[in-house]
Point group: C2
Chain length 132, copies 2
């Protein structure tokens, strides 16, 4: 049995007017801006078949997260009871992967513009998947 490789390779990065984690809304439908994702040129052909108007899920890597958090107060509100991290969507979690439902707004060679992406500028993108 070969050893499993658990290393992610970023496929691109978010370009967003949000530059501070404190300013990012908790969920994309709470006022997140449109954002461009710049994909690495060597994997841009993986976008063939993605069209404007498509509903997609963007997977990001919350590179500023704490990974040793197992319980927290949801939405950083001490009035919410301490809750296991897997019952929340907190970016602080063992593997800080974000799931962002978006709509494709524009595609320009290796760049793709999407709606409502609650991720700060420079966030690594690790996958794009169609909603099915």
């Amino acid at each position: 049995m070969t050893e499993i490789n658990y290393t992610l390779e970023p496929i691109g990065f978010v370009e967003s007017p949000i530059t501070q984690r404190e300013n990012a809304p908790s969920q994309g439908d709470e006022g997140a801006p449109d954002a461009w994702i710049t994909l690495n040129r060597n994997i841009a052909e993986g976008l063939d078949g993605v069209h404007i108007g498509d509903a997609m899920i963007v997977l990001t890597w919350f590179h500023q997260s704490k990974r040793d958090v197992l319980k927290l107060h949801p939405r950083w509100d001490k009035n919410n009871p301490l809750t296991g991290v897997f019952a929340t969507r907190s970016p602080d979690r063992p593997n800080p992967i974000g799931l962002h439902p978006v709509t494709v707004l524009e595609i320009k060679s290796n760049k793709i513009k999407v709606s409502n992406l609650e991720a700060i500028d420079g966030t690594p993108v690790i996958d794009l998947k169609p909603v099915i």
Copy 2:
């Protein structure tokens, strides 16, 4: 700026009657079996607040995938036109993360049973998130 750590830590593993990739359905609603996920004991408290009947998304790491595939024939059918990997849900992709919508059926300390999980026995689990 500190260097980004892109290494996933598995939080647990799938126990499933499906042992061969060829026998896994393409999507969970096409006949995937119920399956247990055994979480590492040291992170099991992250399940507090997860309840039977909850709709969740299980994130897996398709450890048997090819990661250099950028175009493919969807559903391994040559009659389907060659398509960019990001327009498909193929497990062969640069970062082979699977998203599995499931319902929680049972919870026993560090084990959680879920419905319709199209992942083979031994698949690493990397995250659990509530559907919101």
